[in-house]
């Protein structure tokens, strides 16, 4: 029973939100709040299905769903394996929780609900697809939904941020598509597993010799990496992210920071390890060097830029550039000559942990802005007196971001550093340390403002527009993120076990 359900589950997970996206627009004229309830029912159902699917994959084996009954390599398949299923669950669960924030915090309206569901459907598609061109389509669905959601704030700056993101994001997606075209030229296939086998000399192309040293294949990797790096927001193609995160409505920032770049980084892991495989990097060590270098530079520059910011949302956005730099550097380490299981585990765990921590911090920043109007580091002065609960939540999440144990932030960074040492890439280990110090730099600045400035010293310019606009839903999101951050901090071992089957499969065949 559970097996036959799991067989269908990937298709339902992708199809359900996209179908449901039509209903808020259709029914919104009759009942104004129906969009929110449709979103809630859909995302709750998806969370349940994703949980069942995750259990089934964990106990039995990976689930392959052939869309329309066409078998790959000709047909498109959806794959739920030990990696994708956890991201599917993360997407569904986060989408449900963020809805609690939007109930009073907005944005509202039928168009918002429809686009929100489209975004979730697109992200789910990226997580579950096993086809390179299908991945492009879902990247663009996610992109279009994300641009629209940023522009949901009726301010001209939000439209500017959305257009900037649109242009950079579309160029990135086009670069990715060029890479896919090159892979298609080399192998004649688009299915990830089949392309991987064809590159190794077998598969449907069946050439007999590995294609790893072909210029075409190397160029394909370069284009795909450049395209996905744009979506992940690595330095120097990060410039859309601070604008997008700081100009979007607060609830949208939470979902963007928790999921959009995270899932793009997931796609990068998928393409790097499932399609190109470590054998490609053995023949092309320059690719490993390039990934590690870009990741390391991004981690350093992102942290430094974060220290320099005065507006809270921009500061946290630059912090994301830095954290994704660490994740990409870890991906690079794992492709190195010495197989580093810990580095890959660190990349995956830090991705999931970063989603929880960043979503939580942005939710807390939104709640603080709604209740006190404070949006800059200056205005956070003496916040611990005025809003002790929210200030404590920001403090815990900030320390987790630095990597203070016990927290999920510590586990991720620990595995990344361990992997770097294991594969003798000392530079990465040093950068993890430096970026931790820099993270402490901007987190400590915030804490000092909140806890060690007396109310009489605080500037009186704190705006109090709209009074206390904070809702229970907002606080629920923040508290849940704090709880998860701390509790998962004790579960480093079990988290490793969950992703270990995937790591063994890609690193040791």
């Amino acid at each position: 029973m559970i097996d036959s359900f799991a067989e269908l589950a990937p298709a339902i997970l992708v199809g359900l939100p996209i179908l449901a996206a039509a209903f808020p627009l259709l029914l919104g004229r009759l009942w104004t709040r129906i969009g929110w309830w449709i979103s809630l029912v859909t995302t709750l159902a998806m969370t349940g299905i994703a949980a069942v699917l995750a259990y089934s994959v964990h106990v039995n084996d990976a689930v392959h769903h052939h869309l329309g009954g066409f078998a790959p390599p000709i047909g498109i398949e959806l794959v739920a394996d030990a990696l994708s299923v956890w991201f599917a669950f993360l997407i569904a669960a986060t989408a449900t929780v963020v809805l609690a924030y939007t109930y009073q915090g907005g944005p509202r309206g039928r168009a918002f609900s429809s686009v929100y569901l489209l975004l979730i459907g697109g992200l789910m598609g990226i997580a579950l697809t096993g086809d390179l061109f299908n991945l492009f389509v879902f990247l663009e669905i996610t992109g279009i939904a994300a641009y629209s959601l940023i522009a949901a704030r009726q301010h001209r700056d939000a439209a500017y941020a959305a257009l900037k993101y649109l242009i950079i994001g579309t160029v990135g997606a086009t670069l990715y598509l060029i890479g896919v075209a090159y892979l298609f030229m080399a192998t004649g296939s688009l299915n990830m597993v089949d392309v991987s086998a064809s590159l190794a000399g077998g598969g449907s192309a069946d050439i007999g010799v590995p294609l790893y040293d072909e210029m075409l294949v190397r160029a394909a990797f370069a284009f795909i990496f450049a395209g996905l790096a744009t979506k992940v927001a690595l330095f120097p193609v990060h410039s859309w992210q601070p604008d997008a995160y700081s100009e979007a409505p607060d609830a949208v920032t939470v979902i963007l920071s928790a999921l959009v770049s995270t899932v793009a980084a997931y796609a990068l892991i998928r393409v790097t390890f499932t399609v190109f495989t470590p054998a490609f990097f053995e023949v092309t060590p320059a690719a490993t060097t390039a990934i590690v270098t870009l990741g390391v530079v991004s981690a350093l520059v992102g942290s430094i830029l974060a220290v320099l910011q005065s507006r809270i949302k921009r500061m946290i956005a630059y912090s994301s550039v830095a954290q994704f730099g660490l994740v990409v550097a870890a991906i690079g380490v794992a492709t190195g000559p010495i197989p580093a299981e810990f580095a890959l585990a660190g990349a995956i765990i830090h991705l999931i942990g970063h989603a929880i921590m960043k979503g939580g911090i942005f939710a807390a920043a939104g709640a603080i802005a709604a209740s006190t109007g404070a949006r800059t580091v200056q205005e956070y002065a003496a916040l611990a007196r005025r809003r002790p609960g929210l200030a404590a939540c920001v403090a815990v999440l900030g320390f987790a971001l630095v990597g203070v144990p016990p927290s999920i932030g510590f586990i991720g960074k620990w595995y990344i550093a361990l992997g770097a040492v294991e594969s003798e890439m000392w530079l990465v280990a040093v950068v993890v340390f430096i970026s931790t110090l820099l993270t402490l730099g901007y987190v400590a600045r915030l804490l000092e403002r909140m806890y060690f400035i007396l109310p009489e010293d605080a500037p009186s310019a704190v705006v109090t527009d709209g009074g206390d606009g904070v809702s229970i839903g907002m606080l629920l999101v923040v508290v849940l993120a704090v709880a998860l951050t701390v509790v998962l901090g004790f579960l480093g071992g079990p988290l490793f076990e969950l992703v270990d089957p995937y790591i063994q499969e890609v690193l040791h065949g």
């Binding site: 061109f133 492009f136 389509v137 663009e140 992109g143 279009i144 641009y147 629209s148 522009a151 301010h155 001209r156 700056d157 439209a159 500017y160 959305a162 257009l163 649109l166 242009i167 579309t170 160029v171 086009t174 598509l177 060029i178 075209a181 298609f184 030229m185 688009l190």
Partner: protein, 121 residues
């Protein structure tokens, strides 16, 4: 040299179009022209797919009962291009909507003017 270029003429056209599109996107201060540049880039990639579907002496991939034998152009890239065109149209539509909102808000289509106004805010 010339022969090598002539053999790959279509690939060179693709590369040139891609370069022009990317340059427009980066260098033009006019937002509408930036979007046109993005469209040009996308079109170049569509042409790349159409080019690589070409099979020498192949006919259109419409297979009837009698004509299964013989050479056909690869139909898969054509399908990909159709899908990518739809995606491109959606992106362009959204970009133009955003540009209209920017024009209402800033009374300009030039990026440098908009940035100047934002700095003075």
């Amino acid at each position: 040299m010339i022969e090598a270029v002539a053999d790959r003429l279509l690939y060179f056209v693709v590369a040139v179009l891609l370069g022009i599109g990317l340059y427009m996107t980066v260098a033009s201060p006019n937002l509408v022209k930036k979007v046109i540049g993005v469209n040009l880039m996308q079109t170049a990639v569509f042409l790349l797919f159409v080019t690589l579907a070409f099979v020498e002496g192949g006919s259109a991939p419409v297979v009837s009962q009698e004509a299964v034998a013989g050479r056909h152009a690869s139909p898969l890239p054509h399908v990909i291009v159709l899908t990518a065109i739809v995606v491109g149209v959606a992106v362009t539509a959204l970009a133009l909507v955003l540009i209209i909102r920017l024009y209402v808000g800033f009374e300009s289509l030039r990026e440098d003017v908009i940035q100047e106004v934002r700095r003075n805010d």
